[in-house]
Symmetry: C2
Subunit: 263 residues, 2 copies
């Protein structure tokens, strides 16, 4: 949907992963020397998105990076949205081996809590490393192979909690929608700092000063200051780290309490 505005007349296939023509290009086999193929395009897209951010990303800039005309890219992908969807699933592949996380069929020595922490930490890392992931993940259908593998791993772990089936989707939401939200603001914050050419700590200081300076709010500010100072951690990074892990433990405790209630 990100760029769908100009593609009004297109049949609007819901995802690249459905009915894709998939000219995946077997790496520079024939005539011209451009050496383009789908994988090269996708990884150049990821690089450009990381470097410039989603709003600055355009097919023309990407093509320039590949030393090719903008329209060459269209031989490999149907639309900009398709390409973004491919890039999205590509970075989901950076999460380390969710397939390695076993379900309750196998006997697993590992605690489901640790498995859940591992998945949450990985998902957060992707969101923070690639701030453009959040708006895309919120927009597309997310049925690429890497994301599916991840979400099946999540399902397997949640099954081991002992929650009744009817509450498992809710538990998945409680954990991973939280991670999504947290990673979104964290990644965006880091991106903003970088683009302002300033450290996260400096940017935080400026933002706080900015909020303080805003009118109409001084009367509700005393407690906010207290809450901020008590937050713990000397740097913004440490703050994020502590908040994330404490919040994650809160949600895990909530699942445990829910299980205990049912048993």
């Amino acid at each position: 949907m990100v760029a769908a505005e100009r593609a009004k007349r297109r049949p609007a296939r819901a995802s690249v992963w459905l009915e894709d023509k998939a000219r995946r290009g077997g790496a520079a086999r024939g005539g011209q020397p451009s050496g383009l193929d789908r994988d090269r395009i996708i990884s150049a897209a990821v690089t450009l998105l990381d470097a410039e951010g989603l709003p600055r990303f355009s097919m023309r800039r990407l093509a320039a990076e590949l030393n090719v005309t903008a329209m060459s890219v269209y031989w490999y992908v149907d639309t900009k949205d398709d390409l973004l969807e491919l890039a999205l699933d590509a970075v989901f592949g950076e999460m380390r081996a969710p397939a390695g996380i076993p379900g309750d069929d196998e006997e697993s020595p590992e605690d489901w809590r640790d498995q859940l922490r591992e998945l949450a930490v990985d998902y957060r890392a992707v969101l923070v490393r690639h701030p453009w992931v959040s708006p895309l993940a919120g927009t597309f259908l997310n049925i690429g192979p890497n994301y599916l593998e991840f979400s099946f791993a999540v399902q397997r772990v949640i099954r081991r909690t002992g929650l009744p089936l009817s509450e498992q989707t809710a538990a998945i939401s409680a954990v991973f929608q939280f991670v999504y939200g947290f990673g979104t603001i964290e990644g965006h914050f880091i991106e903003r700092s970088a683009m302002a050419g300033v450290t996260a700590d400096e940017y935080f200081g400026e933002a706080m000063a900015a909020v303080m300076q805003a009118p109409q709010i001084s009367h509700v500010l005393e407690h906010s200051k207290g809450i901020m100072e008590a937050r713990g951690g000397d740097t913004v990074t440490e703050m994020f780290e502590r908040d994330f892990s404490t919040a994650l433990e809160i949600v895990i405790s909530g699942i445990e309490a829910r299980v205990a209630r049912v048993e």
Copy 2:
């Protein structure tokens, strides 16, 4: 940042709420009959965003809706991003009176759990009613008056949980990042259904069929089907409702468990 790509040369003020020129226009006082003012522009923007979605929203289309040339709007707002930020805070004003939620200074007869549910439900409602809110809320600094009022209400309620100060920001994250993530996908799902000209249930059926049809995943699918069917609720709306409230109770239980551990 949404439209910032073309405004590279601008000083890049971090938010409308800082150093805004604020020509708020006292409602059609002088010469020309266009009757434009900031409030009219903002509410037209909200209407257009609701009707067409964020990607289709443009200054030129908005101006057309107002029977005015695109550039007239620029007399009232500096940039498209500023206008979006104003529209964003405007819809946060739809949450009913978070200012009415007391802190622990006043003795309040109401349980903090109910207050938290109320705030979460309101926030979710905004995200679902206005699917364009999520990407903007994830992008801007969120220091408009309505959002600040909301987040101060959140702080007051969390203070009443009995959590130590050092864990209160984490608890806020656990609740409201979850709500943000949940409202994001829910709102987007409803938007997609509407734009496909189909009910949410029909769209859900199609999406499920689509995922099933995807290759490489049939081997992990049996449990997913089980989890989906056990989810409860006959319609998609009921499913969302149940998942949301169950997940919210999980997080609240987690906060309670955390409080008990400390006491």
